[in-house]
Protein backbone atom coordinates (compact mmCIF):
# COMPACT_ATOMS: atom_id res chain seq x y z
CA UNK A 1 0.00 0.00 0.00
CA UNK A 2 1.41 3.39 -0.99
CA UNK A 3 1.41 5.87 1.82
CA UNK A 4 -0.16 9.28 1.75
CA UNK A 5 -0.11 12.18 4.15
CA UNK A 6 -3.61 12.40 5.61
CA UNK A 7 -4.94 15.93 6.24
CA UNK A 8 -5.19 15.35 9.99
CA UNK A 9 -1.91 13.42 10.23
CA UNK A 10 -3.41 9.99 10.94
CA UNK A 11 -1.76 6.74 9.90
CA UNK A 12 -3.54 5.03 6.96
CA UNK A 13 -5.27 2.46 9.20
CA UNK A 14 -5.91 4.86 12.07
CA UNK A 15 -9.52 5.48 13.08
CA UNK A 16 -10.35 8.89 14.60
CA UNK A 17 -10.79 8.83 18.40
CA UNK A 18 -13.98 6.85 19.03
CA UNK A 19 -16.45 7.24 21.87
CA UNK A 20 -19.52 5.21 22.73
CA UNK A 21 -22.21 5.32 25.37
CA UNK A 22 -25.21 3.07 25.94
CA UNK A 23 -28.36 4.33 27.66
CA UNK A 24 -28.83 7.95 26.62
CA UNK A 25 -32.61 8.21 26.07
CA UNK A 26 -34.51 7.13 29.22
CA UNK A 27 -37.84 6.77 27.38
CA UNK A 28 -36.47 4.33 24.79
CA UNK A 29 -36.26 0.55 25.11
CA UNK A 30 -32.64 0.85 24.06
CA UNK A 31 -30.36 3.73 23.09
CA UNK A 32 -26.75 4.56 22.33
CA UNK A 33 -24.29 7.18 21.10
CA UNK A 34 -21.36 6.48 18.78
CA UNK A 35 -18.68 8.93 17.77
CA UNK A 36 -15.93 8.89 15.11
CA UNK A 37 -13.95 12.04 15.94
CA UNK A 38 -16.26 14.99 15.25
CA UNK A 39 -19.04 12.80 13.81
CA UNK A 40 -21.64 12.14 16.50
CA UNK A 41 -24.62 9.80 16.05
CA UNK A 42 -27.31 8.81 18.52
CA UNK A 43 -29.87 6.03 18.14
CA UNK A 44 -32.97 4.93 20.05
CA UNK A 45 -35.00 1.73 19.70
CA UNK A 46 -38.71 1.32 20.42
CA UNK A 47 -40.32 -2.09 20.15
CA UNK A 48 -41.25 -4.70 19.27
CA UNK A 49 -44.65 -2.97 19.19
CA UNK A 50 -47.79 -3.18 17.08
CA UNK A 51 -47.22 -1.86 13.60
CA UNK A 52 -49.54 0.89 12.37
CA UNK A 53 -50.98 1.23 9.80
CA UNK A 54 -52.22 -2.34 9.92
CA UNK A 55 -51.76 -3.04 6.21
CA UNK A 56 -47.99 -2.72 6.62
CA UNK A 57 -47.91 -5.61 9.10
CA UNK A 58 -46.09 -8.76 8.11
CA UNK A 59 -47.99 -11.82 9.38
CA UNK A 60 -44.88 -13.97 8.94
CA UNK A 61 -42.33 -12.01 10.95
CA UNK A 62 -41.49 -8.75 12.67
CA UNK A 63 -40.45 -5.65 10.74
CA UNK A 64 -37.29 -3.64 11.33
CA UNK A 65 -37.76 0.05 10.50
CA UNK A 66 -34.86 2.52 10.53
CA UNK A 67 -35.01 6.26 10.16
CA UNK A 68 -31.82 8.24 9.65
CA UNK A 69 -31.83 12.01 9.93
CA UNK A 70 -29.33 14.82 10.30
CA UNK A 71 -30.29 17.64 12.63
CA UNK A 72 -30.37 21.07 11.02
CA UNK A 73 -27.29 22.35 12.81
CA UNK A 74 -25.10 19.25 12.34
CA UNK A 75 -23.46 20.81 9.25
CA UNK A 76 -22.29 24.27 8.12
CA UNK A 77 -25.19 24.98 5.76
CA UNK A 78 -28.36 24.53 7.78
CA UNK A 79 -30.44 21.53 6.67
CA UNK A 80 -34.12 22.23 6.32
CA UNK A 81 -35.85 19.98 8.89
CA UNK A 82 -37.71 16.96 7.54
CA UNK A 83 -36.85 13.93 5.37
CA UNK A 84 -34.84 14.22 2.15
CA UNK A 85 -34.09 11.75 -0.63
CA UNK A 86 -30.63 11.26 0.88
CA UNK A 87 -31.91 10.59 4.39
CA UNK A 88 -34.57 8.20 3.11
CA UNK A 89 -31.98 6.19 1.21
CA UNK A 90 -29.63 5.99 4.19
CA UNK A 91 -32.57 4.93 6.38
CA UNK A 92 -33.14 1.95 4.09
CA UNK A 93 -29.41 1.16 3.83
CA UNK A 94 -29.18 1.12 7.64
CA UNK A 95 -32.16 -1.23 7.81
CA UNK A 96 -30.49 -3.63 5.34
CA UNK A 97 -27.21 -3.39 7.24
CA UNK A 98 -28.83 -4.45 10.51
CA UNK A 99 -31.54 -6.89 9.37
CA UNK A 100 -29.26 -9.93 8.91
CA UNK A 101 -28.50 -10.08 12.66
CA UNK A 102 -31.89 -9.11 14.08
CA UNK A 103 -33.98 -12.15 15.00
CA UNK A 104 -37.52 -10.83 15.04
CA UNK A 105 -39.06 -13.75 13.21
CA UNK A 106 -40.95 -14.70 16.34
CA UNK A 107 -42.79 -11.38 16.53
CA UNK A 108 -45.16 -11.35 13.53
CA UNK A 109 -47.19 -8.19 13.02
CA UNK A 110 -44.82 -6.07 15.08
CA UNK A 111 -42.27 -3.40 14.31
CA UNK A 112 -38.94 -2.53 15.90
CA UNK A 113 -38.29 1.15 15.29
CA UNK A 114 -34.71 2.39 15.16
CA UNK A 115 -34.31 6.16 15.12
CA UNK A 116 -30.89 7.51 14.16
CA UNK A 117 -29.99 11.18 14.52
CA UNK A 118 -26.72 12.78 13.48
CA UNK A 119 -25.94 15.59 15.93
CA UNK A 120 -22.62 16.69 14.45
CA UNK A 121 -21.23 15.68 11.08
CA UNK A 122 -17.71 15.30 9.76
CA UNK A 123 -18.25 12.50 7.18
CA UNK A 124 -18.91 8.76 7.83
CA UNK A 125 -22.25 9.65 9.45
CA UNK A 126 -24.06 6.52 8.20
CA UNK A 127 -21.32 4.31 9.68
CA UNK A 128 -21.53 6.05 13.05
CA UNK A 129 -25.33 5.78 12.86
CA UNK A 130 -25.28 2.04 12.14
CA UNK A 131 -22.80 1.46 14.99
CA UNK A 132 -25.04 3.37 17.41
CA UNK A 133 -28.15 1.57 16.11
CA UNK A 134 -26.61 -1.90 16.58
CA UNK A 135 -25.75 -1.03 20.18
CA UNK A 136 -29.23 0.40 20.82
CA UNK A 137 -30.84 -2.82 19.48
CA UNK A 138 -28.70 -4.93 21.79
CA UNK A 139 -29.48 -2.59 24.70
CA UNK A 140 -33.20 -2.98 23.97
CA UNK A 141 -32.81 -6.74 24.38
CA UNK A 142 -33.82 -7.51 20.80
CA UNK A 143 -32.62 -11.07 20.02
CA UNK A 144 -29.56 -10.80 17.79
CA UNK A 145 -27.26 -13.36 16.16
CA UNK A 146 -24.34 -10.97 16.21
CA UNK A 147 -23.65 -7.26 16.44
CA UNK A 148 -23.03 -5.06 13.37
CA UNK A 149 -20.00 -2.78 13.04
CA UNK A 150 -19.54 -0.21 10.34
CA UNK A 151 -16.57 1.73 8.94
CA UNK A 152 -15.71 3.86 5.93
CA UNK A 153 -12.67 3.15 3.80
CA UNK A 154 -11.35 5.82 1.49
CA UNK A 155 -9.04 5.78 -1.47
CA UNK A 156 -7.17 9.08 -1.62
CA UNK A 157 -5.33 9.24 -4.92
CA UNK A 158 -3.91 5.67 -4.86
CA UNK A 159 -3.81 5.04 -1.12
CA UNK A 160 -6.35 3.31 1.05
CA UNK A 161 -7.25 4.91 4.38
CA UNK A 162 -9.57 3.94 7.23
CA UNK A 163 -12.39 6.18 8.57
CA UNK A 164 -12.81 9.01 6.08
CA UNK A 165 -13.29 12.57 7.33
CA UNK A 166 -14.74 15.52 5.41
CA UNK A 167 -11.40 16.84 4.17
CA UNK A 168 -10.61 13.38 2.78
CA UNK A 169 -14.04 12.95 1.25
CA UNK A 170 -13.30 16.15 -0.71
CA UNK A 171 -9.78 14.98 -1.74
CA UNK A 172 -8.96 16.21 -5.24
CA UNK A 173 -5.29 15.41 -5.86
CA UNK A 174 -4.25 12.58 -8.17
CA UNK A 175 -7.06 10.09 -8.67
CA UNK A 176 -9.25 12.01 -6.21
CA UNK A 177 -11.36 10.37 -3.53
CA UNK A 178 -13.22 7.08 -3.48
CA UNK A 179 -15.51 6.65 -0.51
CA UNK A 180 -16.60 3.20 0.60
CA UNK A 181 -18.99 2.78 3.51
CA UNK A 182 -19.30 -0.82 4.69
CA UNK A 183 -20.80 -2.81 7.54
CA UNK A 184 -20.07 -6.30 8.80
CA UNK A 185 -21.51 -8.76 11.24
CA UNK A 186 -19.13 -8.01 14.07
CA UNK A 187 -17.76 -11.41 15.05
CA UNK A 188 -18.37 -13.41 11.84
CA UNK A 189 -17.14 -10.60 9.59
CA UNK A 190 -19.79 -11.04 6.89
CA UNK A 191 -20.66 -8.05 4.77
CA UNK A 192 -24.14 -6.58 5.38
CA UNK A 193 -23.75 -3.25 3.60
CA UNK A 194 -21.43 -1.59 1.11
CA UNK A 195 -21.65 1.60 -0.88
CA UNK A 196 -19.03 3.11 -3.13
CA UNK A 197 -18.60 6.49 -4.77
CA UNK A 198 -15.53 7.15 -6.91
CA UNK A 199 -13.40 4.89 -9.10
CA UNK A 200 -11.32 1.91 -8.10
CA UNK A 201 -10.00 -1.36 -9.54
CA UNK A 202 -11.57 -4.63 -8.40
CA UNK A 203 -8.22 -5.61 -6.91
CA UNK A 204 -8.04 -2.55 -4.75
CA UNK A 205 -11.71 -2.80 -3.81
CA UNK A 206 -11.12 -6.30 -2.47
CA UNK A 207 -8.19 -4.94 -0.54
CA UNK A 208 -10.38 -2.12 0.83
CA UNK A 209 -13.02 -4.56 2.08
CA UNK A 210 -10.37 -6.66 3.83
CA UNK A 211 -9.00 -3.49 5.39
CA UNK A 212 -12.52 -2.61 6.55
CA UNK A 213 -13.06 -6.02 8.06
CA UNK A 214 -9.84 -5.64 10.01
CA UNK A 215 -10.74 -2.12 11.17
CA UNK A 216 -14.16 -3.03 12.55
CA UNK A 217 -12.49 -5.20 15.18
CA UNK A 218 -11.66 -2.00 17.06
CA UNK A 219 -15.19 -0.67 16.56
CA UNK A 220 -16.64 -3.94 17.83
CA UNK A 221 -14.39 -3.95 20.90
CA UNK A 222 -15.64 -0.46 21.83
CA UNK A 223 -19.29 -1.39 21.19
CA UNK A 224 -18.98 -4.43 23.45
CA UNK A 225 -17.28 -2.45 26.19
CA UNK A 226 -19.97 0.25 26.12
CA UNK A 227 -22.71 -2.42 26.25
CA UNK A 228 -21.12 -3.89 29.36
CA UNK A 229 -20.91 -0.46 31.01
CA UNK A 230 -24.34 1.07 30.47
CA UNK A 231 -24.47 4.78 31.24
CA UNK A 232 -20.73 5.31 30.94
CA UNK A 233 -19.03 7.13 28.11
CA UNK A 234 -16.30 4.82 26.82
CA UNK A 235 -13.33 6.04 24.82
CA UNK A 236 -10.83 3.68 23.28
Amino acid sequence: MTTIKRPDGRKPDEIRPMKAKVGIVPNADGSAMFQFGETVAIAAVYGPKELHPRNQRNPEKGTLRCTYNMISFSVDDRIRPGPSRRSMEISKISEWALEPVVMIGKYPGTVVDVHIQILQANASTRCAGINAAAMALAHAGIPMKDLVSSISIGKLDKSLVVDVNKAEEDWEEGEGATDMAMSFTSSKGKLTHIQLDGHITSKQLKEAVRLGREAIKKVYALQKKALKNVGEEISE
Binding site: N27, N69, S72, V75, D76, D77, R78, P81, H115, Q120
Partner: protein, 267 residues
Protein backbone atom coordinates in the same frame (compact mmCIF):
# COMPACT_ATOMS: atom_id res chain seq x y z
CA UNK B 1 -42.68 4.91 29.51
CA UNK B 2 -46.22 3.98 28.62
CA UNK B 3 -48.09 5.36 25.65
CA UNK B 4 -50.89 6.66 27.84
CA UNK B 5 -50.94 7.55 31.50
CA UNK B 6 -53.52 5.30 33.20
CA UNK B 7 -56.56 7.00 34.70
CA UNK B 8 -55.65 5.54 38.07
CA UNK B 9 -52.32 7.37 38.00
CA UNK B 10 -54.02 10.61 36.98
CA UNK B 11 -56.52 10.28 39.85
CA UNK B 12 -53.67 9.65 42.26
CA UNK B 13 -51.73 12.69 41.00
CA UNK B 14 -54.79 14.89 41.61
CA UNK B 15 -55.40 13.47 45.04
CA UNK B 16 -51.77 14.04 46.05
CA UNK B 17 -51.90 17.63 44.80
CA UNK B 18 -54.87 18.45 47.04
CA UNK B 19 -52.49 17.63 49.89
CA UNK B 20 -49.80 19.81 48.27
CA UNK B 21 -47.72 16.77 47.32
CA UNK B 22 -46.17 15.46 44.09
CA UNK B 23 -44.93 11.95 43.25
CA UNK B 24 -41.29 13.05 43.15
CA UNK B 25 -41.52 15.04 46.38
CA UNK B 26 -41.25 18.46 44.73
CA UNK B 27 -43.17 21.54 45.86
CA UNK B 28 -45.81 22.81 43.44
CA UNK B 29 -43.60 25.76 42.40
CA UNK B 30 -40.40 23.74 42.18
CA UNK B 31 -38.56 22.96 38.93
CA UNK B 32 -36.66 19.71 38.50
CA UNK B 33 -32.86 19.76 38.43
CA UNK B 34 -31.72 22.02 35.60
CA UNK B 35 -28.59 21.27 33.60
CA UNK B 36 -27.27 23.23 30.65
CA UNK B 37 -24.36 22.08 28.48
CA UNK B 38 -22.94 23.89 25.48
CA UNK B 39 -21.43 22.75 22.18
CA UNK B 40 -23.77 19.99 21.01
CA UNK B 41 -22.55 20.60 17.46
CA UNK B 42 -19.47 22.53 16.43
CA UNK B 43 -21.20 23.25 13.09
CA UNK B 44 -23.77 25.44 14.82
CA UNK B 45 -23.06 29.11 15.49
CA UNK B 46 -24.15 28.24 19.02
CA UNK B 47 -25.78 25.19 20.59
CA UNK B 48 -26.97 23.92 23.94
CA UNK B 49 -28.39 20.86 25.64
CA UNK B 50 -30.96 21.45 28.39
CA UNK B 51 -32.08 18.86 30.88
CA UNK B 52 -35.00 19.30 33.27
CA UNK B 53 -34.95 16.08 35.23
CA UNK B 54 -35.32 13.42 32.52
CA UNK B 55 -36.62 15.84 29.90
CA UNK B 56 -33.91 16.72 27.42
CA UNK B 57 -33.82 19.04 24.41
CA UNK B 58 -31.02 20.26 22.16
CA UNK B 59 -31.11 23.66 20.49
CA UNK B 60 -28.87 25.02 17.76
CA UNK B 61 -28.45 28.45 16.23
CA UNK B 62 -27.55 28.70 12.55
CA UNK B 63 -27.19 31.97 10.68
CA UNK B 64 -27.37 33.00 7.06
CA UNK B 65 -27.57 36.18 5.03
CA UNK B 66 -30.96 36.89 3.50
CA UNK B 67 -33.31 39.66 2.49
CA UNK B 68 -35.31 41.54 5.13
CA UNK B 69 -39.09 41.52 5.31
CA UNK B 70 -40.66 44.57 3.57
CA UNK B 71 -42.10 45.86 6.87
CA UNK B 72 -38.71 45.75 8.64
CA UNK B 73 -36.09 46.60 6.00
CA UNK B 74 -33.42 47.44 8.59
CA UNK B 75 -33.87 44.44 10.86
CA UNK B 76 -32.59 40.88 10.92
CA UNK B 77 -34.89 37.87 10.72
CA UNK B 78 -35.66 35.13 13.21
CA UNK B 79 -37.02 31.68 12.48
CA UNK B 80 -37.76 29.23 15.25
CA UNK B 81 -38.64 25.60 14.52
CA UNK B 82 -39.17 22.66 16.84
CA UNK B 83 -39.17 18.97 16.00
CA UNK B 84 -40.55 16.32 18.29
CA UNK B 85 -38.29 13.44 17.40
CA UNK B 86 -39.79 9.94 17.49
CA UNK B 87 -36.44 9.08 19.12
CA UNK B 88 -37.53 10.98 22.22
CA UNK B 89 -40.78 9.23 23.09
CA UNK B 90 -42.85 6.15 22.22
CA UNK B 91 -45.79 8.52 21.71
CA UNK B 92 -44.35 10.41 18.79
CA UNK B 93 -45.05 8.93 15.37
CA UNK B 94 -43.15 9.50 12.17
CA UNK B 95 -44.68 12.02 9.83
CA UNK B 96 -45.30 15.72 9.33
CA UNK B 97 -44.96 18.03 12.35
CA UNK B 98 -47.80 17.70 14.81
CA UNK B 99 -49.45 20.62 16.53
CA UNK B 100 -47.35 20.31 19.69
CA UNK B 101 -44.14 20.88 17.70
CA UNK B 102 -45.62 23.91 15.97
CA UNK B 103 -46.83 25.26 19.31
CA UNK B 104 -43.34 24.95 20.86
CA UNK B 105 -41.77 26.79 17.92
CA UNK B 106 -44.39 29.54 18.03
CA UNK B 107 -44.33 30.05 21.79
CA UNK B 108 -40.51 30.17 21.92
CA UNK B 109 -40.51 32.55 18.94
CA UNK B 110 -42.97 34.88 20.69
CA UNK B 111 -40.98 34.76 23.93
CA UNK B 112 -37.79 35.81 22.13
CA UNK B 113 -39.42 38.43 19.91
CA UNK B 114 -41.68 40.24 22.34
CA UNK B 115 -38.97 40.55 24.99
CA UNK B 116 -36.71 42.33 22.45
CA UNK B 117 -33.99 39.91 23.53
CA UNK B 118 -32.35 39.91 20.09
CA UNK B 119 -31.25 43.34 18.87
CA UNK B 120 -32.53 42.92 15.33
CA UNK B 121 -31.43 46.38 14.15
CA UNK B 122 -27.81 45.37 14.71
CA UNK B 123 -28.28 42.43 12.33
CA UNK B 124 -28.86 44.70 9.33
CA UNK B 125 -26.02 44.70 6.77
CA UNK B 126 -27.57 46.76 4.00
CA UNK B 127 -30.97 48.32 4.52
CA UNK B 128 -33.70 46.73 2.44
CA UNK B 129 -31.25 44.30 0.88
CA UNK B 130 -29.11 42.24 3.21
CA UNK B 131 -29.69 41.17 6.79
CA UNK B 132 -28.68 38.26 8.98
CA UNK B 133 -31.30 35.57 9.48
CA UNK B 134 -31.12 33.64 12.74
CA UNK B 135 -32.47 30.11 12.77
CA UNK B 136 -33.19 28.60 16.17
CA UNK B 137 -33.87 24.86 15.79
CA UNK B 138 -35.15 22.81 18.70
CA UNK B 139 -35.05 19.00 18.88
CA UNK B 140 -36.41 16.79 21.65
CA UNK B 141 -34.14 13.99 22.91
CA UNK B 142 -36.25 12.71 25.79
CA UNK B 143 -39.79 13.82 26.62
CA UNK B 144 -40.67 13.66 30.29
CA UNK B 145 -42.96 16.68 30.28
CA UNK B 146 -42.61 20.46 30.05
CA UNK B 147 -40.84 20.50 26.70
CA UNK B 148 -42.08 24.07 26.26
CA UNK B 149 -40.02 25.58 29.08
CA UNK B 150 -36.99 23.39 28.36
CA UNK B 151 -37.08 24.56 24.72
CA UNK B 152 -37.27 28.21 25.81
CA UNK B 153 -34.28 27.86 28.11
CA UNK B 154 -32.36 26.03 25.36
CA UNK B 155 -33.04 28.82 22.87
CA UNK B 156 -31.67 31.47 25.25
CA UNK B 157 -28.61 29.36 26.08
CA UNK B 158 -27.78 28.63 22.42
CA UNK B 159 -28.23 32.29 21.46
CA UNK B 160 -26.05 33.42 24.36
CA UNK B 161 -23.02 31.49 23.09
CA UNK B 162 -23.69 32.03 19.38
CA UNK B 163 -21.02 33.85 17.37
CA UNK B 164 -21.71 35.48 14.03
CA UNK B 165 -19.70 33.82 11.24
CA UNK B 166 -17.44 35.82 8.92
CA UNK B 167 -18.97 37.14 5.74
CA UNK B 168 -17.10 37.42 2.45
CA UNK B 169 -18.63 40.57 0.94
CA UNK B 170 -16.95 40.21 -2.43
CA UNK B 171 -18.25 36.72 -3.12
CA UNK B 172 -21.41 37.22 -1.04
CA UNK B 173 -20.70 34.08 0.94
CA UNK B 174 -20.96 33.19 4.61
CA UNK B 175 -17.71 31.63 5.81
CA UNK B 176 -19.10 29.04 8.17
CA UNK B 177 -16.72 27.80 10.81
CA UNK B 178 -14.85 31.12 10.87
CA UNK B 179 -16.09 33.36 13.64
CA UNK B 180 -16.24 37.11 13.12
CA UNK B 181 -15.46 37.35 16.82
CA UNK B 182 -18.82 39.05 17.32
CA UNK B 183 -21.57 37.55 19.41
CA UNK B 184 -25.21 37.68 18.38
CA UNK B 185 -26.38 41.09 19.71
CA UNK B 186 -28.59 40.41 22.72
CA UNK B 187 -29.97 42.52 25.51
CA UNK B 188 -28.64 41.87 29.00
CA UNK B 189 -31.80 40.52 30.59
CA UNK B 190 -32.89 37.05 29.53
CA UNK B 191 -36.51 36.25 28.71
CA UNK B 192 -37.72 33.16 30.53
CA UNK B 193 -40.93 31.37 29.67
CA UNK B 194 -42.63 29.59 32.52
CA UNK B 195 -45.70 27.45 31.96
CA UNK B 196 -48.17 26.98 34.79
CA UNK B 197 -50.37 23.89 34.50
CA UNK B 198 -53.78 23.57 36.11
CA UNK B 199 -54.48 20.10 37.50
CA UNK B 200 -57.83 19.86 39.26
CA UNK B 201 -57.93 22.87 41.57
CA UNK B 202 -54.17 23.10 41.89
CA UNK B 203 -51.51 24.79 39.82
CA UNK B 204 -47.98 23.43 39.25
CA UNK B 205 -44.89 24.27 37.21
CA UNK B 206 -42.52 21.95 35.35
CA UNK B 207 -44.78 18.88 35.21
CA UNK B 208 -43.47 15.40 34.44
CA UNK B 209 -45.14 13.69 31.48
CA UNK B 210 -47.66 12.01 33.79
CA UNK B 211 -48.51 15.28 35.50
CA UNK B 212 -48.85 17.01 32.15
CA UNK B 213 -51.33 14.31 31.11
CA UNK B 214 -53.34 15.06 34.23
CA UNK B 215 -53.47 18.79 33.43
CA UNK B 216 -56.55 20.37 31.88
CA UNK B 217 -55.06 23.65 30.77
CA UNK B 218 -51.89 25.71 30.88
CA UNK B 219 -50.58 29.25 30.55
CA UNK B 220 -47.09 30.12 29.33
CA UNK B 221 -45.82 33.46 30.59
CA UNK B 222 -42.67 35.08 29.20
CA UNK B 223 -40.96 37.18 31.86
CA UNK B 224 -37.95 39.48 31.43
CA UNK B 225 -36.55 41.28 34.43
CA UNK B 226 -39.83 40.77 36.28
CA UNK B 227 -41.94 42.18 33.42
CA UNK B 228 -44.36 40.05 31.42
CA UNK B 229 -43.80 40.36 27.68
CA UNK B 230 -45.62 37.36 26.23
CA UNK B 231 -48.37 34.98 27.15
CA UNK B 232 -50.28 32.08 25.69
CA UNK B 233 -53.00 29.89 27.08
CA UNK B 234 -53.06 26.33 25.81
CA UNK B 235 -55.76 23.62 25.81
CA UNK B 236 -59.46 24.25 25.78
CA UNK B 237 -60.67 24.23 29.38
CA UNK B 238 -61.82 27.57 30.78
CA UNK B 239 -60.18 29.21 33.78
CA UNK B 240 -61.88 31.35 36.43
CA UNK B 241 -60.11 34.59 37.19
CA UNK B 242 -59.06 33.49 40.63
CA UNK B 243 -57.19 30.52 39.17
CA UNK B 244 -55.78 32.70 36.40
CA UNK B 245 -54.28 35.03 38.99
CA UNK B 246 -52.94 32.05 40.91
CA UNK B 247 -51.21 30.82 37.74
CA UNK B 248 -49.61 34.21 37.06
CA UNK B 249 -48.46 34.53 40.66
CA UNK B 250 -46.95 31.06 40.59
CA UNK B 251 -45.05 31.79 37.37
CA UNK B 252 -43.74 35.05 38.78
CA UNK B 253 -42.65 33.41 42.00
CA UNK B 254 -40.88 30.62 40.12
CA UNK B 255 -39.18 33.13 37.82
CA UNK B 256 -36.94 34.61 40.56
CA UNK B 257 -35.37 31.28 41.39
CA UNK B 258 -35.18 29.95 37.82
CA UNK B 259 -33.66 33.19 36.54
CA UNK B 260 -30.79 32.83 39.02
CA UNK B 261 -30.26 29.17 38.12
CA UNK B 262 -30.12 29.89 34.39
CA UNK B 263 -27.83 32.92 34.83
CA UNK B 264 -25.40 30.72 36.73
CA UNK B 265 -24.97 28.45 33.68
CA UNK B 266 -24.66 31.40 31.31
CA UNK B 267 -21.73 32.94 33.16
Amino acid sequence: MTIETPKLTIDRIRQYLTEGKRFDGRKLDEFRKLEIEFGVSNKAEGSARVKLGETEVIVGVKMDVGTPYPDSPDKGNLMVTAELLPLSSPRIDLGPPKFEAIEIGRVVDRGLRESHFIEFDKLCMEEGKKVWTIYVDIYTINDDGNLLDAAGIGAIAALKVAEIPKYDKENEKVLFGESSGKKVPLSKEIPISITAYKIGNEVVVDPTREEQDAAETKITTGITNGIIASMQKGESEDIDLETFEKMIDLSEKTWHDLNKKIEKFLK
